[in-house]
Symmetry: D2
Subunit: 151 residues, 4 copies
């Protein structure tokens, strides 16, 4: 499979829903993690995959994640979640994420998932990412991706 | 097993969390269903049961639910969810629920669950509630339970 | 304004997100209320309105809502939320809702909202729906809307 | 006010609710941020404060947050969220957080909030934390707090 058919990045569009806004009138900070996660799953679908196909005995729990917030999002705002594979190891995939509204940068995040075999009532155990999944992605590290541009 | 060891009612106490409050400054209406559901699960624990024990192949999805709202709840309010088994049939359990803050009635709800056997990638199929579960509860219908008292 | 420019119905498309699925592998029942609510807000946007414009001192809290569930939704399912204004009174609007996946009916719901004036630290008080909002909608009651069709 | 009346740490107890568990049968990673946030608000209440008192024109939005996950939490697990003020500056408060179930360390997190004046339809603007709030807390940095102990 050529590199050209591997996915590194995806742009996911979304609108703020009323139930995502908190008592301070801005999107609750925890929703940004769900927006990032939705974008990762959309990237997987674009690559012909599902992060959780029915009946699968492997899964991809999160091992680390973070967000930095610059500006708030409000009800009915339209925004873009740009997600990028920045590192791919034997068992883990790391994503970087930029959320923007028009030309305004709103927040930047990161998410690391690990491939595990699910066994009922047993601890999760890391395994190698299966080749048919790893072969669909390509890491495209870019130190400037989540950096704020100079004014 | 005597009736006296069967459970009909439970009072569950809770405080409103910040992330449950919406952009209008009041608890989002969908949270009342989660409060009711938490109270049902607390009733099951009080009865020595879990609504979803690890590895179980039966489950209790919701078939119908409703809420009527009289007054809003706000951040950090302490409130009580009073839950009651009002009907028990072969496969279904119906609960009524009153949410109050101090002496103020806030909302009333209902929830009907059905016992199903879970089979991967197959439609859910209703089955009889197992005797070791049905035997822990007793329906206590009361037409006045969720009615607003006369002033 | 002619009736033809008034809105009675809207079809809202959505995909199930991973965080909406519960431990039983199906969409948690509370999410159906959020789907219905998102569809109502989309109907308002289609009619040129927002249910919560910035700085507005009126709001539309929910006074009653209900859902009946026939079949579960699962991760990545695409579905449609068809929402309809079935009653419009001086202060309240009532919606009916049908959620379907392809030709399968999944669930039916209802939602009643009331127009209130928001005053800090004061009880919510029902007021007449302003004419520029009421004039954008038309009730289209249909007893068959949420009924299961005969087989 | 003596240091002894200032708060640096709080232990908040919680049980996993059914709606917090995702399709993989474990608590969805976004819920850890809500657990941490609930613990911060409980610390504020213990200190005689509210993070969002009614009618207040100041607020404390999140500017940065992160979590690392070691083990999953499951339905009905009881766990503890230990929260600690690790840095206090003019406008910001930084918390560290350890989530554990019995003697097992589950996850570690951090949360930085900034004090802002809320003005309708205006960008949020950082201000100094008011003395009656700053005076209730004391930073207690501890590099070992969120480190995994040696085995």
């Amino acid at each position: 499979m050529s590199n050209s058919s591997r996915w590194s990045e995806y742009r996911y569009r979304r609108r703020v829903q009323f139930h995502e806004v908190d008592g301070a009138g801005i999107v609750h900070f925890t929703w940004f993690f769900r927006y990032m996660s939705e974008a990762v799953h959309a990237l997987w679908r674009a690559a012909g995959l599902s992060v959780a196909p029915p009946g699968s005995d492997i899964g991809f729990p999160i091992v680390a994640t973070a967000f930095e917030y610059r500006r708030p999002l409000r009800f009915e705002d339209e925004f873009e979640v740009r997600i990028r594979v920045v590192e791919m190891k034997k068992s883990t995939l790391r994503y970087a994420c930029v959320i923007s509204r028009g030309r305004e940068r709103i927040a930047t995040g990161s998410l690391t998932i690990v491939c595990v075999r699910k066994q009922p009532d047993r601890p999760l155990k890391a395994i190698s990412i299966p080749p048919d999944i790893a072969g669909r992605f390509r890491a495209a590290p870019d130190p400037h991706f989540t950096k704020e541009p100079r004014q």
